[in-house]
C-alpha cells in the first residue's frame, strides 16, 4: 500500500470531489485530501449590498467540515492549504477589471489555470504526490500517435466541464486525473451513497463561488470599497450601431452582450446590447438580428491536441458554457491568437468569455474572446 503512488485529491466538500476520493481510495491508492482556502467570506460580509451573515459557498467552514468528514470516513490524511493571495491576484482582481472594462469574465477558468492546476498541483507535488485528481467532468487521454495528452468531453454531456479546462498544459494534463469523466452525475451520487458519504445528496454549487447570491454588481461595489477605492465612473452613452446617441447608461459593468433588460430606452422593437466599448464607455444596442456574427478573434490561445496548427482547421467552437459547439474554420494567426469563422452566424459572441475548439469529443484548444 505504501508503495503505490500518492495522489492528491482536490476536495471542495461537494459530492463530486468526495466521490473521487472514495473511488481512488477503493482502488488502493495512497491519497492526500487537499482543500484550497481561496477567499474569506467574512471579508465583505455586512458591507453595503452584501449579506450580513456569511452565505457564500466558497471556502465556507461548512464545506471544509464536509471535506474533512469525508477524508475521515474514507481514512485519508487531509489538509487545508491557503492560497488566498494568489486567488485574489489571479482571479478576483481580473474578474473586477474585466467587468469594469466592459467584458464578461469566467473566473472558473482563471481559477483552474492559476490555482487548481498550477498552485495546487505544485503543492501536491511538493508534498510527495505526483498527480492531482479532481471532481471535474472531463476525460484525459494520451494520443501516442502524436505524443500528446488529450482533453476530452465527459460522457455525461450535460455535466461536461471541458469549456472551463481549455487552458491546461501538456504537463498539467499528464499529472491530472478526472475519475468522473466516464460517469453520469446520477451514478456519482449512487457511488457516494454506496461509500457511506453523508453528503451524497448535497445540492450542486451553481453560482460564482466568491460572489454571494450571484449579484456580481454588488460584489464589485463592496470589493472596491473594501480596498478603499472609489467606484470608477463607467457611465456613458447608449448608441445605436450607426452611432446615433439614444440615451445614457449607468455604467458599462452593468451590461453584457446579448442583454435585453435594463437598457433604459424605449423603442418600438426590442433592443439588445450588441457591443461594449470599454475605452469610450459606450454601450452599442440594436435589434436582435444584429447580435449575430460569424467571426471572433481569440487571444491567449492554448493548443492541446496539437501544437500550433499550420493550416486552417474545421472544428466545432463553443462560445459560452451553455452553447453547442458550432461548426467553424479556425486559423492560428499568431503564436497565441486564432481567428474563428463560423459557418452560421452565432448569437452574442461575448468578449471575456472563452472560445473552445472541439473535434468531436476532443478539445483541440481554446482561447479568450477579444
Amino acid at each position: 500500500m505504501t508503495d503505490s503512488p500518492t495522489i492528491a485529491v482536490a476536495m471542495s466538500g461537494g459530492v463530486d470531489s468526495s466521490t473521487v476520493a472514495a473511488l481512488l481510495r477503493a482502488d488502493g491508492y495512497n491519497l492526500v485530501g487537499l482543500t484550497m482556502q481561496l477567499w474569506n467570506q467574512r471579508r465583505l460580509a455586512g458591507r453595503e449590498g452584501m449579506p450580513e451573515a456569511v452565505q457564500g459557498r466558497c471556502c465556507s467552514l461548512d464545506d471544509v467540515y464536509d471535506a474533512r468528514r469525508v477524508a475521515e470516513t474514507i481514512g485519508i490524511p487531509y489538509y487545508v492549504v491557503s492560497h488566498e493571495e494568489r486567488f485574489e491576484q489571479e482571479v478576483v482582481r481580473p474578474f473586477v477589471a474585466e467587468y469594469l472594462g466592459g467584458r464578461t469574465p469566467i473566473p472558473c477558468s482563471l481559477c483552474n489555470n492559476h490555482l487548481k492546476f498550477d498552485q495546487l498541483l505544485i503543492t501536491a507535488r511538493q508534498i510527495g504526490a505526483e498527480r492531482l485528481a479532481t471532481g471535474h467532468y472531463a476525460r484525459i487521454g494520451f494520443d501516442s500517435a502524436v505524443g500528446r495528452w488529450l482533453l476530452k468531453r465527459a460522457v455525461d454531456s450535460s455535466r461536461d466541464q471541458t469549456y472551463f479546462l481549455f487552458g491546461l498544459t501538456q504537463d498539467q494534463l499528464s499529472r491530472t486525473l478526472f475519475p468522473l469523466g466516464g460517469l453520469l452525475k446520477s451514478e456519482v451520487r449512487e457511488i457516494a451513497r454506496r461509500h457511506g458519504l453523508a453528503l451524497a445528496d448535497k445540492p450542486d454549487s451553481q453560482e460564482i463561488c466568491f460572489v454571494p447570491g450571484g449579484d456580481y454588481k454588488k460584489f464589485l461595489v463592496a470589493y472596491l470599497a473594501e480596498h478603499g477605492e472609489s467606484f470608477p465612473d463607467t457611465s456613458g452613452e447608449l448608441v445605436s450601431s450607426s452611432g446615433e446617441v439614444l440615451g445614457m447608461h449607468s455604467g458599462i459593468h452593468n451590461f453584457t452582450v446579448g442583454q435585453r433588460k435594463g437598457l433604459g430606452v424605449a423603442t418600438g422593437s426590442p433592443l439588445y446590447v450588441l457591443q461594449i466599448n470599454g475605452e469610450r464607455r459606450q454601450v452599442v444596442v440594436g435589434g436582435g438580428e444584429q447580435l449575430y456574427s460569424r467571426i471572433l478573434h481569440a487571444k491567449r490561445v492554448n493548443w492541446i491536441a496539437l501544437g500550433r496548427p499550420t493550416s486552417t482547421l474545421r472544428l466545432g467552437v463553443k462560445i459560452r458554457h451553455r452553447h453547442e459547439p458550432a461548426s467553424a474554420m479556425v486559423e492560428a494567426i499568431s503564436a497565441d491568437e486564432a481567428m474563428v469563422t463560423f459557418d452560421q452566424p452565432q448569437r452574442a459572441i461575448t468578449p471575456g468569455q472563452a472560445a473552445v475548439f472541439y473535434d468531436g469529443d476532443v478539445v483541440v484548444g481554446g482561447g479568450w474572446i477579444a
Binding site: Y79, V80, Q126
Partner: protein, 390 residues
C-alpha cells in the same frame, strides 16, 4: 500508512499526558468522584485532592496555595486576569506578539471604551521594558506581557517589566503558558500580580489551567454561580484535571532541578544545528536572545511553511507553522510579522517544539527527513532562484 513511525515535535501546541499524570487523575473519575464542595466523605476526599494540587501548582509558581485559581485553561486564565481588572476608561498595555487569548481580549476591551497600547518588539522578538514604561498613562490599569512566546520561544524581560509596573503602581499580568515547566521562575521575583498557566502545555490534559492572583488583588469574576475558588471562578471543580495539573506541576518542578530541562535543550540544539548544517538559506527566528529550551523557529527561504508542514506530516513528523485559522488553513504568523519579517519569510517559517519525551534517535530521524523535504519543496517552488538549488 499505519506503519509510519510518528515523531511529535509540536509540544508548544499541546503535550501528551504523562503516564504518571494519567495514573494520578484516573481514580477521580469514578472511585473518588465526590463534589469537592460536598460535606460528606466523598466531598472531603476530592476537596483534599484539589487542595493538594493547588499546593503543587503554588510550589511551581512560588506563591501561596490560596493565590492559585483553577480555570478551564490558559485562555480563561488570561481572560480572567484582563477582564477581571480592566474597566471602561482604563488603559491596558500589552504587546504585538501575545497569544490571541490576550490580543483578542485587548480588541474586545477597545470595543468597551478601554484604551489599549500594543508595544512593538524588536527583530529578535523582544519587548523593550522602556517601551512599556513610555506607554504608561495616568489611567493605565494593567500591563500584560507574556513570559515566553509560543512561536519563537523567546523569553521576555518580565522581571524588568515587573519593576516598571511596580514603580508605576499598575497591575502586571504575564501569560506564562509557554514558560511553565520549561524555565524556573518565581512570581515574587517577577513581581507580577497575575500569571497564567495551561495544563496541556505541560503534560496535563486539555481543559485545565490556573491563574495566580496575588493576595489582595480584587478581580471581577467572569462567571457567576457558587463560591468556588474563593468566589473568583464559579463552577464545580474539574477534579480529575486539577489533580492532573497538580501532578504535572510537581513533575515539572523536579525537571527544572534534576536536569530534565537541560536534556530537552540539548535535543533542541542538536536538531537546530543539524538543520542549519544540512539546509542552506535557513535561519533561526529569535535565535539571538534567550529562549525556552524546547523551541526553535526556523525559516527556510523559498518555501511555503504550510507545504513543508504537510510534507513532513506525511512522512510522520509533526511540526507547525503560524497559527491555524478556523478552517485549518495557515495565516502568516502575527508574531513573526511583528518582528519585522517579510510576509514570505514569515510564511516560510516552521516551529519545532520538543519535550522531554522526545529522544536523540527521533531528532536524528527528523534530521534525515527535513533537508530532503525542503529540497523537494525548493525544487518545485517558483520562488526558488536557480542558484539556490546548487
Amino acid at each position: 500508512m499505519g506503519s509510519l513511525r510518528r515523531i511529535y515535535f509540536d509540544n508548544n501546541a499541546t503535550t501528551p499526558v504523562l503516564p504518571e499524570v494519567l495514573e494520578a487523575m484516573r481514580p477521580y473519575f469514578n472511585e473518588r468522584f465526590g463534589n469537592a464542595s460536598s460535606i460528606h466523605h466523598h466531598g472531603q476526599e476530592t476537596r483534599a485532592a484539589v487542595e493538594r494540587a493547588r499546593e503543587s501548582v503554588a510550589a511551581l509558581l512560588g506563591c501561596r496555595a490560596s493565590e492559585v485559581v483553577f480555570t478551564s485553561g490558559g485562555t480563561e486564565a488570561d481572560n480572567l486576569a484582563i477582564f477581571g481588572l480592566v474597566k471602561p476608561g482604563d488603559h491596558l498595555i500589552t504587546s504585538t506578539i501575545e497569544h490571541h487569548a490576550v490580543l483578542n481580549s485587548g480588541k474586545r476591551l477597545q470595543e468597551m471604551n478601554c484604551e489599549v497600547t500594543y508595544v512593538p518588539v524588536d527583530v529578535q522578538g523582544l519587548v523593550s521594558p522602556e517601551d512599556v514604561r513610555r506607554a504608561l498613562r495616568p489611567n493605565t490599569r494593567l500591563i500584560s506581557i507574556m513570559m515566553a512566546n509560543n512561536e519563537t520561544g523567546v523569553l521576555q524581560p518580565v522581571e524588568e517589566i515587573g519593576r516598571v509596573a511596580a514603580e508605576a503602581d499598575v497591575y502586571f499580568h504575564t501569560d506564562a503558558v509557554q514558560a511553565a515547566g520549561k524555565v524556573p521562575f518565581d512570581v515574587k521575583r517577577i513581581a507580577c500580580d497575575l500569571l497564567s498557566i495551561s495544563g496541556h502545555k505541560m503534560h496535563a490534559p486539555q481543559g485545565i489551567g490556573a491563574l495566580f492572583v496575588r493576595k489582595g488583588t480584587l478581580l471581577q469574576p467572569l462567571f457567576y454561580g457558587g463560591s468556588h475558588e474563593r468566589s473568583r471562578r464559579a463552577g464545580t471543580e474539574n477534579v480529575p484535571a486539577i489533580v492532573a495539573l497538580g501532578t504535572a506541576a510537581e513533575i515539572a518542578r523536579r525537571g527544572l532541578s534534576d536536569g530534565g530541562v537541560r536534556q530537552v535543550a540539548a535535543l533542541r540544539d542538536r536538531l537546530q544545528a543539524g538543520v542549519l548544517a544540512a539546509v542552506n538559506a535557513a535561519e533561526v527566528n529569535g535565535g539571538g536572545v534567550p529562549r525556552v529550551p524546547n523551541t526553535s523557529n526556523i525559516y527556510f527561504d523559498y518555501i511555503e511553511g504550510e507545504a513543508l508542514v504537510i510534507a513532513l506530516d506525511l512522512k510522520g513528523l509533526a511540526v507547525s507553522t503560524g497559527a491555524a485559522c478556523s478552517s485549518g488553513a495557515i495565516e502568516p504568523s502575527h508574531v513573526l510579522t511583528a518582528m519585522g519579517l517579510r510576509p514570505e519569510r514569515a510564511r516560510a517559517s516552521i516551529r519545532f517544539s520538543l519535550s522531554k519525551q522526545n529522544t536523540a534517535e527521533e531528532v536524528d530521524l527528523a534530521l534525515a527527513l527535513i533537508p530532503q523535504a525542503v529540497e523537494r519543496l525548493r525544487e518545485l517552488s517558483p520562488a526558488t532562484p536557480a542558484v539556490a538549488n546548487d
